[in-house]
């Protein structure tokens, strides 16, 4: 837990009990925890005291979580995990599009949240590509543009490679369908989700992955795709 030593996490949630157990369990893992009960307080606290990661509830009494996220992103790029009771995918997509790095739906498991936290904190600051992946079966080397399955090199199309690289750069994080479509096909194809579906199906076949029990690429239904990597 040396990793967590210096990390300071800000929890913005109006539910006292959630703040309380998050505080207790995160501190138990060695994080430093600050709490805020409203969006305004959260932003103030962040501005004055700073943090390494924000856990943000979308339902806040004074202002919507989406709004908090938008304001925060105007001056900070620190990782944000969105907490929501809303199972509505559009909300998640909106939050991710607005700059959230991940989301967790209430009710959630503490271990799941911790894993996401670690993933995000490890990679910060964001943007650095994960250079390579190897789990014994699959070996991916981004820098050299090489993919091998059980020692056999694979031939990927340009788009397949681009998708894999994009997902790997954000290992552990969800990339929303609009984000992926924008990156791969350009802004005019943001809504052509079937392009993505066909592409990811081909990629999975080549990687020897199974959509029903994914080992590498997981579909977050209605939201987007996530490269699972080693940790997840």
């Amino acid at each position: 837990m040396t990793l967590a030593d210096a990390f300071k996490i800000l929890v913005i949630d109006d539910e006292v009990q959630i703040r309380r157990f998050l505080g207790i369990s995160l501190r138990a893992q060695g994080y430093e925890v600050a709490e805020a009960g409203s969006g305004r307080d959260g932003l103030d606290l962040l501005a004055t005291r700073g943090a390494d990661l924000v856990i943000l509830d979308l339902g806040l009494p004074d202002m919507d979580g989406q709004q908090v996220l938008k304001e925060l992103r105007t001056w900070s790029s620190l990782p944000v995990i969105v907490l929501s009771v809303r199972s509505n995918e559009n909300e998640k997509v909106a939050a991710l599009d607005a700059g959230a790095n991940d989301y967790v739906t209430k009710p959630f498991g503490v271990q799941e949240l911790s894993a996401r936290l670690r993933g995000l904190l490890k990679r910060s600051p964001e943007g650095e590509p994960t250079p390579a992946f190897d789990d014994g079966h699959l070996r991916i080397d981004i820098a050299r543009r090489q993919v091998a399955r059980d020692g056999e090199p694979l031939t990927l199309s340009r788009k397949e490679w681009a998708l894999l690289a994009l997902l790997m750069q954000h290992t552990g994080r969800v990339l929303t369908q609009p984000q992926l479509l924008r990156e791969l096909w350009g802004p005019t194809h943001q809504h052509d989700t079937h392009y993505l579906r066909i592409l990811v199906a081909k990629l999975r076949t080549k990687l020897g992955d199974d959509a029903a029990a994914p080992r590498y690429i997981r579909t977050e239904a209605g939201v987007g795709l996530r490269f699972i990597g080693n940790e997840f």
């Binding site: 109006d14 539910e15 006292v16 009990q17 959630i18 309380r20 157990f21 998050l22 207790i24 369990s25 501190r27 138990a28 893992q29 979308l58 339902g59 806040l60 009494p61 004074d62 919507d64 009771v85 809303r86 199972s87 509505n88 209430k106 009710p107 959630f108 498991g109 503490v110 271990q111």
Partner: protein, 893 residues
């Protein structure tokens, strides 16, 4: 001045006269079945309860159980049996009642006619005798039995009521009690067989009981009572010398003994009554009146006296002069006359009475009444002019007269004009006739003139001999003039007629269109259309509408009520609907039917059929009438389609709203259930996963969190259950007498457990009354509001709870120092839709707490509202609860 004083004297005397003798109380109803007898008997029982000596002289219960139950326990006078032609009739035993001499006699059916052989012909005369004997009388009467309203009632219902009660008698009544029942309810009672129909044909009475009739009759009854109240008020003011008593100017009616005289009398009485003016009926005898007219004058006078008016008979040669002289002498303001019959010669040589009065009586107000007879006459005249064969006799006579006059004129002109010039005179005559008559008559006039010209003026005179050439030319000239002129004139006339008809039709259609567009539902559409069709086409109307999606016709409206379709008509209607064509009478299909069937079609969709039955003998419809009828039916169809569409749209809207609400509710429920669950799951997992890393305090905090969130979940589920109960109206109020302090105490104890840090500042005014409520529900409502207030309170700020009695109700204010609620949303926070729409934006599970709170308080007859606080910060939630009578004092056991 004198008039003033006499008016005041009148006002003083009026009540005095009423005080003398017994007092009359009349229970007035708009129709049988409104519950007059029931009300009267209830009043009688009340009298008995107050130990007033009240006796039931005669009551018709018509076998109604609830009425009979009211009679039980009252003293009932046996009826007198009268033997009439072998039948035994029972009547009020007047002598027995006079001998018994109670304080109050209860006698039903004021308008009743006694059996022959009774002392008085009518029951109101019996009652008069009782009143004179100093006995108070309670009685009942229906509006249609009141003499002055007789005509109006007949116009409304088409039923002539023969048993009427003079208005003068009703004026004796000290009180008139209006027993009112909305027409809809009355019709319901009728359909349930709760209204006694009497011995008359039930069907006729059914017609009488139509909603429109009942509404009109109810109106009349209300008006009558309202007038009475006005009059009482004025009398009271006048007796106290308060207020200006206007000089009472008379209204007089001039009658001439023709058929409308009685009608004039009734109308005059109404006018006078409205103005609170005395009135009289005046007849001027100029020596030319005898027989029937004389009798009619006497009858009208008798009627006027019954209605409380004076009668004046004047003698003189000039009707107008005598009338005006009388009016000047007697402070008359208004002269009422009927439309005089227009005799053709009087129009030319003599001015009508109306014109003369207008000319000479400029300083009087002249009211000219259009009598029903005048209207009928006007309609007859109109119809005649439209009929193609009507008036040919008159035209022939006109042509003959013109021919004779022309001949006469020519005979004079013969002395200084040549023969050729004479023919011009005849041609002028022919022209005169031709422009005003049909072609056949013009030809007739031409022939007549030619014969006269030939016979009287062409040599050899006084023979019909004429040289061939000359004769043919003259005859031809006459005929050509006649034909051309007649043709031109006819064309012009028919154009004018068509224009007029088109105007009428356009106006009719426009009026119908307005009525239909104002109609909000199908029933109103049917009513408006039926009425318009009947009035415009003078036909019986039956409206049939196809059930949606089928071809089965159902009757939805008819006018008049006796109109029924026979088998043939039904067949014609079905055919008409199926083929979307006209059927029945005047058409080629099923013409044996008495009814003409017009289908209502919108787009391709047949909606129903309108069946029309014209008067006997109309076998051919004039084309413009047929067009008009079809246009009206088309309008009706459009309106029907429109109202149906509105209904469907409305249903769709409600459905959409329901769906929206359901979705919002679901999301709210999922939010409110998930929030505590998140804390429970997270805390439990933390406990199990990090157990060795947690301090004892942390563990305890997590366990407490699980407990409190579990309880919160339980509260929320309770709220949901409560709301379901409120929504289904199955909330069972178990009222108990409870003190508000106890309820508040219990709610506060719960709050303290949940929010130990929020101070509550309670002010209950001493001597709060006990509440008759379901204590658990009120406690829950109070708790919901307190919880909400505590939730929004900033740290350390107190929540205040105040209770006072204000205007007879308990007023509870819960005040927090939170952020407050924007003014526009204060009403909405109790709205389920609003609170669920807010979703998880509200502080922990605002959810449905306030909605439920309102439901609970509402079930107790109270209200909840959100107000701004006096300081401008925070919110005041105000509960108002009714305070019931205090419970009976405890008996020492």
């Amino acid at each position: 001045m004198t008039a003033d004083r006499s008016a005041q004297a009148d006002a003083l005397l009026g009540p005095l006269q009423r005080e003398r003798g017994g007092q009359l109380k009349v229970f007035l109803g708009a129709a049988p079945g409104v519950g007059k007898t029931y009300s009267m008997l209830s009043a009688a029982r009340e009298l008995r309860r107050q130990s007033v000596d009240a006796v039931v002289g005669l009551v018709e219960t018509h076998g109604r159980v609830e009425t009979q139950a009211l009679v039980d326990g009252l003293e009932l006078l046996p009826r007198k049996t009268i033997d009439y032609k072998g039948r035994e009739l029972t009547e009020l035993d007047l002598d027995a009642l006079l001998a018994r001499k109670p304080r109050v006699a209860i006698i039903d059916e004021l308008a009743h006619t006694n059996a022959p052989g009774s002392r008085h012909e009518r029951r109101y005369q019996d009652i008069e005798e009782l009143l004179n004997a100093g006995i108070d009388v309670y009685t009942t009467v229906n509006i249609q039995h009141i003499e002055s309203l007789n005509d109006v009632v007949r116009q409304i219902t088409g039923v002539r009521v023969t048993e009427t009660v003079p208005d003068a008698f009703l004026d004796r009544a000290r009180d008139i009690v209006l027993v009112d029942l909305p027409p809809r309810e009355l019709i319901e009672r009728l359909q349930q067989g709760k209204v006694y129909m009497g011995e008359q044909a039930a069907a006729a009475l059914q017609a009488f009981f139509s909603a429109s009739n009942l509404t009109a009759l109810r109106d009349l009854a209300v008006q009558l009572v309202a007038d009475r109240v006005d009059a009482d008020m004025r009398e009271h003011m006048a007796a106290r010398g308060v207020g200006a008593v206007p000089v009472r100017r008379r209204v007089i009616a001039a009658i001439d003994g023709f058929e409308h005289s009685e009608y004039l009398v009734r109308v005059t009485r109404k006018i006078a009554e409205r103005r609170q003016a005395p009135w009289a009926v005046v007849f001027v005898d100029n020596g030319q009146v005898a027989g029937d007219r004389q009798r009619m004058v006497e009858e009208s006078f008798a009627l006027a006296r019954r209605l409380g008016g004076e009668t004046v008979q004047l003698r003189g040669l000039s009707v107008v002069d005598e009338l005006l002289a009388h009016a000047s002498r007697n402070t008359v303001s208004t002269i009422v006359i009927g439309r005089t019959r227009e005799r053709p010669f009087a129009r030319i040589f003599n001015r009508t009475l109306t014109q003369q009065l207008l000319h000479k009586g400029a300083h009087f107000e002249l009211t000219i009444i259009s009598t029903p007879y005048a209207r009928a006459r006007a309609r007859r005249a109109l119809e005649q002019s439209d009929e193609p064969n009507a008036g040919i006799k008159g035209e022939l006579i006109y042509a003959s007269i013109v021919a004779v006059l022309t001949t006469g004129l020519a005979a004079i002109a013969d002395y200084f004009l040549s023969l050729q010039d004479l023919s011009l005179i005849f041609i002028t005559g022919v022209l005169f006739v031709a422009v005003r008559t049909r072609m056949a008559v013009a030809v007739y006039a031409a022939t007549l003139c030619f014969l006269a010209y030939n016979f009287f003026f062409i040599e050899p005179r006084f023979t019909l001999y004429i040289s061939a050439g000359r004769g043919v030319v003259t005859v031809a000239a006459f005929l050509v003039v006649a034909l051309i002129c007649s043709r031109l004139a006819n064309r012009l006339r028919s154009q004018v007629l068509m224009l007029r008809a088109a105007n009428t039709h356009a106006a009719t259609l426009q009026r119908l269109g307005q009525q239909l567009s104002a109609a909000a539902d199908e029933t109103q559409v049917f009513r408006a259309a039926t009425q318009a069709l009947r009035e415009t086409l003078a036909a019986d109307v039956v409206l049939l509408v196809a059930q949606e999606g089928t071809r089965r016709l159902t009757e939805v409206a008819r006018d008049p009520a006796r109109a029924t379709l026979d088998v043939q008509a039904t067949a014609a209607a079905d055919w008409s609907l199926a083929h979307q064509q006209l059927a029945g009478r005047t058409t080629d299909t099923l013409q044996g039917s008495a009814w003409w069937c017009v289908p209502m079609i919108v787009g391709e969709q047949p909606l129903g059929v309108v069946c029309l039955r014209f008067a006997e003998g109309v076998n051919r419809l004039r084309p413009e009438l047929s067009t008009l009828a079809q246009a009206m039916v088309q309008d009706l169809a459009q309106a029907l389609a429109r109202t149906r569409m509105v209904t469907q749209l409305e249903a769709a809207r409600v459905q959409a709203e329901t769906d929206l609400l359901r979705a919002a509710l679901l999301s709210s429920v999922s939010h409110d259930l998930r929030s505590p669950l998140s804390a429970i799951i997270g805390s439990a997992e933390s406990l199990s996963v990090y157990t060795d890393k947690l301090s004892e305090d942390d563990k305890r905090a997590l366990a407490e969190g699980i407990l409190s969130e579990g309880q919160r979940l339980d509260r929320y589920i309770q709220n949901l259950l409560d709301m379901t109960k409120l929504g289904h109206g199955t909330l069972d109020l178990q009222r108990q007498w409870s003190g508000f302090d106890e309820i508040a105490g219990s709610a506060l104890a719960r709050l303290r457990k949940l929010y130990p840090a929020v101070p509550v500042d309670m002010h209950l005014s001493p001597m709060l009354p006990l509440l008759n409520v379901h204590p658990a529900l009120i406690e829950q409502a109070l708790f919901n509001i307190l919880e909400n207030a505590a939730k929004f309170s900033p740290e350390g700020a107190a929540v205040s709870l105040r209770a006072v009695v204000f205007e007879g109700r308990l007023r509870i204010d819960i005040i927090d120092r939170g952020p407050g609620i924007p003014e526009g949303e204060r009403k909405q926070i109790f709205d389920m839709f609003y609170s669920v729409q807010r979703g998880d934006r509200g502080a922990q599970g605002t959810g449905l707490g306030l909605t439920i709170c309102q439901g609970m308080i509402g079930a107790h007859g109270g209200s909840v509202e959100a107000l701004a606080t006096e300081t401008g910060r925070g919110t005041t939630i105000r509960i108002t609860l009714p305070i019931s009578e205090p419970p009976p004092p405890q008996q020492d056991a």
